[in-house]
């Protein structure tokens, strides 16, 4: 366990060395959210609510979705693909730790860094000039924190899955890009899923993508309350566990198939 904690710390410190990049990151974020705010104001066009959400809730939804993304987002799939291409994966596999476990905690270290140095200051900046609506109950904040942790786990599991596929295909740039667009669209990052047509919403229920962004953002804007929030959390927990099975199975198969090209 110690070695995993140490790895989280090292990643955190590594990111800290490049923190100046994140000052511009906060600016990018603030400009983006401001533009989204004007766009949504125009879409609402004076209506008090759309799909059960007020303009303030929608602004909060957009602001929080992008901040949450800074926490759960990582490039584990690309890192694995790169290590396979370079042949580094051979050295990684003989080290005394679980390769995938180590990748996951590295992602966590990065996520924690961005949470403290990008998300929180960013939220502070935009709350100065945009009408955001934060929950008052401590319970909502707690549910949101838990939900965010699940988001990270599900996102990382999907990334690890996509990364492990590289063991079989060697090149899967196309798959990785496609995955990114699918997650942008179906996780509820750019649009709350309740805005999609009914048939599309029914389909999205069967996929893990909504558990990444839609559920935590709906919880924090209090669009999901009580039973709805609980069901959302349960669904996220279920996906966290369910995705472990294909991951474990693919990983065992991948280790048998591994061919190191050069290196």
């Amino acid at each position: 366990m110690d070695k995993y904690m140490e790895m989280i710390r090292i990643r955190f410190l590594m990111m800290l060395a490049y923190r100046t990049n994140y000052y511009t990151g906060i600016l990018i974020y603030a400009i983006n959210i401001a533009a989204y705010y004007f766009l949504w104001s125009a879409v609402y066009g004076g209506r008090p609510s759309m799909q059960g959400m007020s303009l303030e809730q929608m602004t909060t939804y957009v602001a929080i979705s992008w901040l949450a993304r800074a926490f759960y987002f990582n490039n584990l799939d690309r890192e694995i693909a790169m290590e396979i291409r370079d042949g580094k994966v051979a050295v990684e596999l003989i080290r005394p730790y679980s390769y995938l476990g180590m990748k996951a905690v590295q992602g966590l270290g990065e996520g924690l860094f961005r949470l403290f140095f990008l998300s929180l200051p960013g939220l502070l900046v935009v709350s100065l000039f945009l009408p955001l609506q934060f929950p008052e109950h401590a319970k909502t904040w707690f549910a949101f924190a838990l939900s965010l942790l699940f988001s990270f786990i599900i996102f990382s599991e999907l990334n690890l899955l996509a990364g492990v596929v590289t063991f079989f295909t060697f090149r899967n740039e196309g798959l990785l890009r496609a995955k990114r667009f699918i997650i942008d669209l179906f996780s509820g990052l750019i649009l709350p899923l309740s805005f999609y047509p009914d048939w599309a919403q029914r389909w999205m229920h069967y996929f893990p993508f909504q558990a990444i962004s839609y559920i935590p953002s709906m919880i924090v804007t209090e669009s999901f309350q009580g039973a709805a929030a609980r069901d959302g959390l349960l669904m996220q927990a279920a996906w966290c566990i369910a995705l472990l099975f294909p991951l474990g199975w693919l990983w065992r198969a991948a280790k048998r198939r591994l061919v190191v090209q050069g290196g």
Binding site: N21, T24, G25, L27, I28, I31, N32, A34, A35, F38, L39, S41, A42, V43, G45, M50, Q51, E173, G174, R177, A178, F181, D184, L185, I190, L191, F195, Y196, P197
Partner: protein, 261 residues
């Protein structure tokens, strides 16, 4: 004439290397297409809840997006300056470029072109023709010339802004993340600028004139006469920003001392 023949030869070489890996080409095109699909779906879903966005209909918004894709594709094909700092300044490639017999900016455009990005214009044209026929827009023979003029204007604006940004690398060789920021901001020129606060509208018109690559020129074809003044101004703004960028570039090259690596 010399410039034209060098250009054609570089283009020939480029085609040969790219056609060697056709599968990659296809995958790249597909992922371009998916990025465009994400933007389109956003528009379609938003307009399934509201008939008008500040007086603009869904089809008009789609037309603006379709128009934007054309100058953007041309820009992406020829002005691939994303990693200029990394590749040319930090790694010292600029020294080699300066020994070449053509202008240094032209040389970099030749080396870094990505002709396959031009395919990104195809969905744009399809959207414009489809939406244009639904809106039953009128089309005169001189509109074709107008289209070329406005597209060229848009390309020059994009090129001007991104060349100016690349020029910063000559003076300060620290890596900055201004490029992705500019990329984000550029997408706001695709929405009708009257939805924004007047400060943002002013910036998108005169400081970072991305509105001239989307909503202003498109409103000429949408026959929105109140925007005609801006639409006709597009090539002028393009020429101006491109000229400033080239002047900045030349000043940067004079300043350039190399990193010694």
């Amino acid at each position: 004439m010399f410039y034209v023949s060098v250009f054609v030869q570089y283009m020939g070489q480029y085609m040969k290397t790219k056609l060697q890996y056709r599968a990659d080409l296809f995958v790249e095109w597909l992922s371009d297409l998916m990025a465009q699909a994400v933007n389109l779906i956003f528009l379609l879903v938003v307009f399934s809840h509201t008939p008008l966005l500040h007086g603009w209909s869904r089809d008009e918004m789609l037309f603006i997006y379709g128009f934007f894709l054309v100058p953007y594709a041309v820009f992406a094909a020829f002005f691939n300056l994303w990693d200029f700092n990394e590749r040319y300044i930090v790694q010292g490639e600029m020294d080699r470029v300066l020994t070449r017999p053509v202008h240094s900016l032209f040389q970099i455009i030749l080396e870094r072109m990505e002709l396959e990005s031009l395919l990104g214009a195809v969905p744009g044209l399809v959207i414009m023709v489809y939406v244009g026929s639904r809106l039953s827009l009128s089309f005169h023979w001189y509109d074709a010339l107008m289209f070329i003029l406005l597209v060229v204007g848009g390309v020059l604006i994009y090129a001007g802004i991104f060349i100016s940004l690349a020029t910063i690398s000559f003076f300060a060789d620290a890596r900055t993340s201004i490029m992705p920021m500019m990329y984000n901001i550029s997408s706001y020129g695709r929405y009708p600028v009257d939805i924004y606060h007047r400060v943002i509208r002013y910036i998108l018109t005169w400081v970072l004139p991305f509105a001239f690559v989307g909503v202003y020129p498109a409103s000429y074809f949408l026959r929105k006469e109140e925007w005609y003044g801006y639409a006709f101004f597009t090539p002028v703004v393009g020429a101006l920003f491109f000229a400033i960028a080239v002047m900045l570039w030349n000043a940067g090259v004079r300043w350039y001392r190399g990193t010694g690596s």
